[in-house]
């Protein structure tokens, strides 16, 4: 129960910050928050495999790119409405995740990392070279801005900074709901068991392959959702969407925030998006700052920033404490 409350509190704060920024009307801050919300979806998705299942998907932004390209192609070439393209992008990403899973889920440890990274690299070069479809390095330009109906706000339009932020936060809420649901379910328990001891998990009848596919599929779907929202927000999709830079960003968010925790990826995403911006430093200093953040996180908060709040679990001694309830964090 305590996790449920923590998650609700985190969400309320995020929505509150978004609402505050919209009221404040600062377009620059809203831009940071919008990107933060979109990348938080990715961090949540990567955390399903890297944090909960224990397999570090080093090519995770593959699904980000697939979602982005699918949305661009469906809206620009096939003339689909943005909402339909977004849903289709998620479905296509899940399908891609399952196909990639057939290959990579046979592997563990460093082999899994290398195989997933290879898929990402291949996708990057396909996007550059398959010019008929992707328009090569120039990318696909001029995506229609998303627009949705929201309760209280009415029809919001992605061309305005506040509309874009509202849409991104809506996507994030959906992602949080999905992740909360699966992690709190039996699937979450099974993932943790497989992560902590795969042989023991299979010796009591849990099928590691089945649960790994589930994790990879959902995580790919969230990647596709993030990619679709990102493409709609920036209005252009180039092969850079598959770049290692995005991959490093998402990895940093998960590691700095806290792998395998619920709030960690959310906190990490907003830290990684906002800290370099808020310090108002030149683009050139982004990577050194990330490096310092990562080193600081590993030194002072190896379980992520969110673990700083509560010190190492205290012993309840001989009585059964409230932690006896299913706590998925």
């Amino acid at each position: 129960m305590s996790t449920r409350r923590r998650a609700a509190a985190g969400l309320a704060i995020s929505v509150g910050i978004a609402a505050g920024l919209i009221l404040l009307g600062d377009a620059y801050l809203m831009r940071i928050a919008t990107l933060g919300a979109i990348f938080a979806i990715l961090a949540l998705g990567l955390n399903l495999t890297a944090g909960h299942l224990g397999l570090f998907d080093f090519g995770y932004v593959l699904y980000f790119g697939i979602g982005g390209y699918a949305t661009a192609l469906l809206t620009l070439r096939a003339g689909w409405a943005w909402e339909a393209a977004l849903l289709a992008s998620v479905v296509i990403s899940v399908a891609a995740g399952v196909v990639v899973g057939v290959v990579v889920l046979r592997l563990r440890g460093p082999y899994f990392v290398i195989a997933t990274f290879s898929f990402l690299t291949v996708a990057y070069y396909v996007a550059i070279n398959w010019r008929d479809v992707t328009n090569g390095s120039l990318g696909l330009i001029g995506l229609p801005a998303p627009a949705i109906e929201l309760p209280f706000l009415g029809r919001v339009d992605g061309f305005s900074p506040s509309g874009a932020l509202a849409i991104a936060v809506t996507g994030l809420l959906v992602a949080v709901g999905v992740v909360w649901r699966v992690v709190a379910s039996g699937a979450g328990r099974a993932w943790h068991a497989i992560r902590d001891n795969e042989d023991l998990a299979s010796s009591v009848g849990l099928d590691p392959a089945r649960y790994a596919f589930l994790a990879l599929g959902i995580s790919a779907g969230l990647g596709g959702l993030g990619g679709s929202l990102y493409a709609g927000y920036v209005g252009i999709v180039t092969p850079e969407i598959f770049s290692f830079g995005h991959m490093v960003n998402v990895l940093l968010m998960v590691v700095i925030g806290g792998t395998g925790t619920f709030l960690g990826p959310l906190v990490g995403a907003f830290l990684v998006e906002s800290v370099p911006e808020l310090l108002r430093v030149a683009e050139a200093f982004r990577l050194p700052i990330f490096g310092i953040m990562l080193i600081a996180a590993i030194l002072f908060a190896p379980r992520g920033v969110v673990s700083l709040r509560r010190p190492r679990r205290t012993r309840p001694g001989r009585q059964l404490g409230s932690s006896v309830t299913g706590d998925p964090s």
Binding site: D196, L200, S203, L206, V324
Partner: protein
């Protein structure tokens, strides 16, 4: 013993490159029996367990369980048929609480299924609550209920070994394979494990145990199978095994008979 055996191992062999770990192992285990598998280090006991539980593929031979050939079935499928193993090293689910570890052991037989559990139907929630109650009862049976909310990795070694047995019990085994349940335990702890195994057997669970401590083996077993260099050299009641010349020679060399 006219019933067909619960477990029937026939001519089971496993080679690792040039090394013959197990050669032509043949034995049976009947329902509700406690059978011990003993033998000097390197006799092939753990290899036999891994082959029976599906963690290794045999080079040749066959494992029949409840009238069914297990060839090609992965470990989790065998576990769902009730054939469950424990591990020689204390094996738990990391920092999850002891209770959560045991709940994880109940997961595979969760009735409402994965989809219902994802959607969070009322039935799935009831099943989850039932699993918690059952897990607590198993911790009580194993005598470590006061550790329920402690992280498993923080438990003393003895309690971790017992927790490993509790996790296995949570999957409701019909045949429990225990790989050295008292290894690394002191005399008192191993006595407790021995009593626990008795209790488990009384509940109708068939037990096949690899064990080094002779007081545990002799006190617990209906039958003892002795392996040496990958071959069965004796298969008899504890009393007769004690007096068996081949067994004494395997353990003590020719000195034992002098």
């Amino acid at each position: 013993m006219s019933d067909p055996p619960l477990l029937e191992v026939t001519d089971l062999s496993r080679r690792f490159g040039g090394l013959v770990a197990l050669s032509g192992l043949t034995f049976t285990v009947h329902d509700a029996e406690v059978v011990s598998l003993i033998g000097p280090n390197g006799a092939g006991k753990t290899t036999a367990f891994s082959l029976i539980a599906g963690f290794l593929t045999p080079t040749s031979g066959r494992v029949m369980y409840a009238g069914r050939d297990l060839a090609g079935l992965p470990p989790h499928r065998r576990a769902r048929l009730g054939l469950v193993r424990t591990f020689q090293q204390a094996a738990v689910f990391g920092e999850q609480s002891a209770l959560d570890c045991v709940v994880a052991g109940t997961m595979a037989r969760s009735e409402p299924g994965l989809l219902a559990s994802l959607i969070g139907t009322a039935r799935a929630r009831r099943a989850e609550a039932a699993h918690l109650d059952e897990a607590l009862a198993i911790l009580q049976l194993c005598g470590i209920e006061q550790r329920a909310s402690d992280p498993a990795s923080d438990l003393p070694y003895g309690d971790q070994k017992v927790l490993g047995i509790a996790i296995a019990l949570a999957s409701r085994p019909r045949l429990l394979l225990l790989d050295e349940p008292t290894a690394g335990l002191n005399a008192m702890e191993s006595e407790q494990v021995s009593l626990l195994l008795d209790r488990i057997n009384e509940q109708g669970v068939t037990v096949l145990v690899v064990e080094h401590r002779m007081e545990v083996v002799m006190g617990l077993s209906d039958r003892v199978i002795v392996l040496d260099h990958g071959v069965v050299i004796a298969d008899d009641t504890p009393d007769r095994i004690r007096a068996d010349e081949a067994v004494i020679r395997a353990y003590l060399g020719d000195f034992g008979l002098a």
